[in-house]
Point group: C2
């Protein structure tokens, strides 16, 4: 990997505190690649040869079974993905594809495991990252099992509004078909769900969403930090 990329990788929680020698060892074996949109980076079931880091663009994590497919998460810069598979040296449970033109760093899994064994600071950082991922997954699971699709959409919109700094109007960061898959519904149903939110002051025009009265929407959505706050 060219040294010009070191600072941005180093700025990740995962790498920011570790020994410089170990960091440089990790980087030396790695490389950065640019991918066009819609390229499969990894596929579930494969063995995990590299830890991946999204440096630019965005990557969709998804899974398939019996000819069905579902989107599980979107990874945005700068974060890692499939850390758990790398650590356990186990097969990927999810596939990953670029959503747009994206830069991805690849660090050999074996190097990660080696450094993990000798750098306690790095190991602790991994624990923090993993526990965050775990809790995120628990929250998604609760969202899925406890809410109807309309409620999931309502809460999703409120989260996006927060991400957009609380603006009344904001852009959906993703295609609607993919959003539907992420929310566990069909594109047709997502369309209807948007209409179903109109009585709660939600208006949609293309990718532009307006929530005129967030408090009104919250009476339906009933957001909870134990499901919707992805920062804790």
């Amino acid at each position: 990997m060219p040294e010009s990329h070191y600072p941005e990788v180093r700025s990740l929680h995962l790498f920011s505190e570790m020994e410089d020698d170990n960091f440089r060892t990790l980087m030396r074996g790695s490389y950065v690649q640019n991918f066009p949109p819609q390229i499969d980076l990894i596929h579930e079931g494969e063995s995990s040869d590299f830890l991946h880091i999204v440096l630019s663009g965005s990557v969709d994590l998804y899974a398939q079974w019996n000819n069905r497919e579902t989107s599980i998460a979107t990874v945005r810069p700068i974060s890692t993905f499939i850390l758990a598979a790398t650590i356990r040296d186990a097969p990927y449970l999810m596939s990953a594809r670029t959503l747009e033109k994206s830069g991805v760093a690849l660090i050999p899994s074996q190097d990660v495991r080696d450094i993990f064994d000798i750098d306690a600071v790095f190991a602790r950082a991994i624990v923090r990252e993993l526990s965050q991922c775990y809790r995120g997954m628990v929250k998604s699971h609760k969202d899925m099992k406890l809410r109807t699709s309309l409620e999931r959409l309502a809460n999703y919109l409120l989260r996006q509004q927060t991400r957009a700094g609380g603006e009344t109007t904001f852009e959906l960061p993703t295609e609607k078909r993919r959003l539907a898959s992420f929310l566990g519904m069909t594109p047709e149903n997502l369309s209807r769900a948007f209409k179903g939110l109109r009585p709660y002051s939600v208006a949609v025009d293309g990718n532009r969403v307006t929530i005129a009265d967030a408090d009104d929407l919250k009476t339906l959505a009933k957001p909870s930090p134990l499901i919707d706050d992805y920062s804790s």
Copy 2:
């Protein structure tokens, strides 16, 4: 905690390799308690004061939202739960209640974090445990999003059969109402789903399930190691 319990706790992957001094420090601050059935041990939203270890009996992890409740996992001896909350010093995302009379060890979270910071072997063991939990959660999530309730039940039964050593007939380890909640359906629907599996050689009598022809059932269930193999 009485020293008589040390060996069984020590036998956990999480503790088996760590420094003896550190292990004893952890144990000294801990205690063991016996609980009757249906006792709430922790409740979601509370701060995580203790890492819990199930020594005997069984514990249900569940979550609530808006007056709805769903069962997320069952913890059986000897395993820990809510490790991620302990490590992050964050609120519990799930509640836990005893399903039967159960013995539980409680280790102060602050002690776990302290030892975690000074014992690299322990930190690594935590990583392994956490990554296992994470992958388990991903699998549950895929199960939920990619399969119908009938398919989830079919695969659940095949997993239970494996757990029971592959016997044609085995016992459900849990109440049907809780199984329904775990599988993300109502008890009524679970009843109907069992009937729906009769053409696939599944017979139910109370808690006793017979799968006459597992291959037949598999044509419906299409089990996949990337969803159903909880050991990897």
